[in-house]
Structures are given as C-alpha cells and as structure tokens.
Symmetry: C2
Subunit: 163 residues, 2 copies
Amino acid sequence: MARTRTSPTDPLTLEVVQLIGSVVARYYEEYEQAAAQHALTGAQARVLGLLSLAPMRMREIAHELKCEPSNVTGIVDRLESRGLVERRADPADRRVKRAAVTAVGAETAAELRDGLDFAREPLATLSREERVVLRDLLARMLSPDVSGTTSSPSGATSSPSGA
Amino acid sequence: MARTRTSPTDPLTLEVVQLIGSVVARYYEEYEQAAAQHALTGAQARVLGLLSLAPMRMREIAHELKCEPSNVTGIVDRLESRGLVERRADPADRRVKRAAVTAVGAETAAELRDGLDFAREPLATLSREERVVLRDLLARMLSPDVSGTTSSPSGATSSPSGA
DNA sequence: TATTGTTATACTCTATAACTATA
DNA sequence: TATAGTTATAGAGTATAACAATA
C-alpha cells in the first residue's frame, strides 16, 4: 500500500496546497453568499442546482449530497414550501418520489448560477492558453491515474459535482 | 459599476469553472473526513488548526471563521472539554480571553494536517515546472488586481487558511 | 458609553433509529 | 423480506438579541 508521501515539506508543494485552500475557502464563501441572496442555505441551493439539471429520486439526492436520505426530506420540504420544487409520484413504483424544480425554481437556479462570479471572473484575467493549461493541470489533479505512472487504481472519480 | 461579465458561455471557461468546483468538493470532503478521523467536526478542526499557529482572542477566531463571536464560545467549549484547547486570561485587558492549543491539541492539529492528502498527493504527479505554473495561475486567480505583472509576490493573502 | 465574551433562542443540517407503504 | 421515503430524536453550527464584566 506504499503511501507515497509527497515530501510534505517541499516548499513549492506547500505553497500550492495553501493556494488551493484559499481558492476552496473563497469559492465556498461566494457560493454561500450567492445562495443567501436568494434566501437559500447552501444545502438548499445545492439541491436546487441538482434538480435544475434533472428531476431526481430522494435517494439520489442524498447520494449526491453525500448525506443520509432522511435529511433530504427536510431540505426538499423547505424548497417545496417556497414553491421552488415539487414532489412527483413515480407511476412505475409507488414508493418512489421524484423531486423536480418548478418554473420559478428553474429561474432561481439560473440566477444562482449567474451569481457565482468568483470562479468565472478571475479567469478573465487569464489568457486562453493559460486557461487551457489550468484546465489540464486541474484535470490531472482530479484523476492522478491518467499519468499512467505513479499509483493507485483508485479511478472512478464519478464527479462529486455537489458544489 | 460595469459588471464585466466574463462571457459565461465560453466553453473553456465553463470547463475550468466546473473543474474548480470538483476540486473544491473533493477538498472539502477530504477535510471533513480527516477531521472525523479525530472525532472532530469541520468547524472544530478549523479552529484547532488556527490556534495551532498562534493563540487567538475569541473575536479573532470568529473573524477568521467568518461567523458571529457567539458561535465561537460553543466550538471552543467542545475543544476545551476534550483537552485540546484552553482559555487564557489576558493580563492587559481582563475582558479578553485567548484560546490556545494544549500539547495534545498541537499534536492532533499536526496529525490532522498530515491527513490532508488530497491537495498534496495529486501534486506529486506534476513536475516541478508544472507546479510552478499552477501556483502562479492560482495566485493570479486569487488577486486579479495584479493583472499587469505575471508574478505577484504572492502578496499577503492573509490566508483564509480556514479550510 | 463602548467592547469582550457569554447566554438564550430559534433555525438548519447532520446521523441514527424506528416507522409506513409499497414491492 | 427488502426498499423508498418519512418521522422522531439528538448534536452541532449559525445568526440574532440580550446580558455581565470590563474598559
């Protein structure tokens, strides 16, 4: 299992790690802030964003959020009570409920996405070539396996996509 | 106040934004997981990490966490009840309390840091030059103002470091 | 009077366990 | 019996408002 520790004390690596931490912190801030502007919590905004792509079963939502299904009930309840989401019965299996955005919910989700300037705006200061480089480096960070070398089969990253 | 929208539909930019979202999600997961391995919540781990750098007043902690000071009371209470942190009186101003890690707390904080492999391990697959490029690109994302010159002296980002 | 930290309160998110209605 | 969703419960983080001690 050789844990291939990456010389944690390498100054350059530490610097990059810290920068990533800063990006993460900043991104989260902006996300919560954008959600709050629509009087939504982070979790509610995430669910609304997910459902704006496609209706989902309660259990699927829980899986995407990486939380227990019982929690989804309340989150969808609150979105539903505000008319942003609705529950639909599944004709094939009457145990299943599919949550789906309403027209208003879809609109809110779109506004929410547009409000996320942090990740997009600073990118404008980068040239097209630089963005390509950044894309490739980030992609390799997310799936280290492609390098064909180093290690861990750990593949199947199945895109967290939550945030 | 021209809102300088960055052509939100540019496919390349969208791709990078999505990658950043994935990195953020993955980093957060790993952080929470590392915290949980020490039976700490994310907030507790963040405070412990902050205090491991230097003792802080309750209000300062709140500022770093970007939350209300009243919340810090409970978080520090829980850390203190586990012997990871202690409150110290400030001789100069008796209203002030400084929270500081205990020896055990410092050790836990160090283990916590070592447990954060995500940001560090994938970086090993990048060459030194690539890491330099990544560092510069991330730095520019975090301080778009420097646009003129390429290499900001990483100027005092005051590291949110929370995450 | 202003500031520091705390308490009190209410809401949301979270996990766990038990329940229902289906299958 | 197993599964989908819910309810019930408890712990934690959060914001707001009010309070004590100190400045």
